[in-house]
């Protein structure tokens, strides 16, 4: 496991020196696209990003896992449908459901993989307008108690990029009611529902709150000048949240 090579190799000073030892794994499947971005976000938050390969059979002692966006296996069959059978996914599912409650974040295609792997309920279908859509999207943080959202305030509005073709979240009414009742709707689209998702849901968590999935891309809003509106960095809180969780748990 080497550290993710970067085009340049930016290495900002850790926010908290205790965090530099935190190891956050970023999984690459064939067709994954945003793995470098997720690794950069981890580093900008102050931790160490660890490359994980879908065919690996061990989790390399990571403290948390990010399943990044992209088109793993080309979204062929269904988005995430082939990736969920990767050897490493079995390990991730076991670790997420274990006593240790490994924090797992699925972004976009990663969210789709988590639903296909049944770590999260529901599924994503094609956007209601049938097109790929890339836009700066406002989200409301509905639940700031999960492993990946504790750096935000409840009800906070954040702007992060959204970009997908199959982003319409669907589940049966019973499941949706249960998610609402258990405060597991973590993010909702604000102002504009970009894909027809039920109840404006942009992201959800598992019951324990250690597994979170969402369609928008917080890892694209972590560095001023490269995010929404040339200045946005609202996504960085995801990655510092995970570190808070790890520090709290250690």
């Amino acid at each position: 496991m080497s550290e993710t090579p970067l085009i340049g190799g930016a290495a900002p000073a850790p926010v908290d020196s205790r965090l530099a030892g935190a190891r956050i794994g970023v999984v690459t499947f064939p067709g994954t696209l945003d793995d470098r971005d997720a690794s950069r976000a981890v580093r900008l938050a102050g931790a160490t990003a660890v490359d994980l390969w879908h065919a690996d059979t061990e989790l390399a002692d990571v403290d948390a896992v990010i399943i990044p966006g992209g088109f793993s296996y080309g979204d062929y069959l269904r988005a995430g449908a082939i990736s969920r059978f990767a050897p490493l996914m079995g390990k991730i599912v076991d670790a997420a459901n274990s006593e240790a409650k490994l924090p797992v974040l699925g972004i976009c295609n990663g969210f789709q993989i988590l639903t296909e792997a049944h770590l999260l309920p529901g599924s994503m279908i094609k956007n209601d307008h049938l097109k790929f859509l890339c836009r700066d999207q406002v989200l409301r943080v509905e639940n700031n108690t999960t492993a990946w959202t504790n750096a935000y305030t409840a009800g906070q509005d954040i702007t992060v990029p959204l970009k997908n073709q199959d982003g319409q979240y669907i589940a049966d009414e019973k499941t949706l009611d249960a998610l609402e009742a258990e405060n597991r709707v973590v993010f909702r689209y604000v102002g504009f529902n970009p894909n027809g998702s039920r109840r404006d849901i942009a992201g959800i968590s598992n019951a324990a709150g250690n597994v979170v999935g969402l369609m928008p891309h917080p890892e694209h809003a972590v560095e001023a000048g490269y995010g929404p509106g040339h200045t946005g960095t609202d996504g960085l809180g995801f990655f510092t949240s995970a570190l808070n969780t790890l520090l709290g748990g250690k």
């Binding site: 296996y73 080309g74 062929y76 069959l77 082939i82 059978f85």
Partner: protein, 83 residues
Amino acid sequence: MPRIVVDVMLKPEILDPQGKAIVGALPRLGFNAFSAVRQGKRFELTVDGEVTDEILAQAREAAETMLSNPVIEDVVNVEVVAD
């Protein structure tokens, strides 16, 4: 309500990337018997009332002109399914 089922497949000579990815994944789950997969589309056209020859002809025409892209796809089946 009776339905008319239309099945559309990519022409045999056209590359099917989806089928290629699926056939590559099957052996990893222990399904070793399949040497090729091609993925197609199924349409179900619901008809209010009886499916007449004229309606079936309409379905065939719709299948050829709109439901499929004749440049890359073939309509491989048009049939009536009674419920």
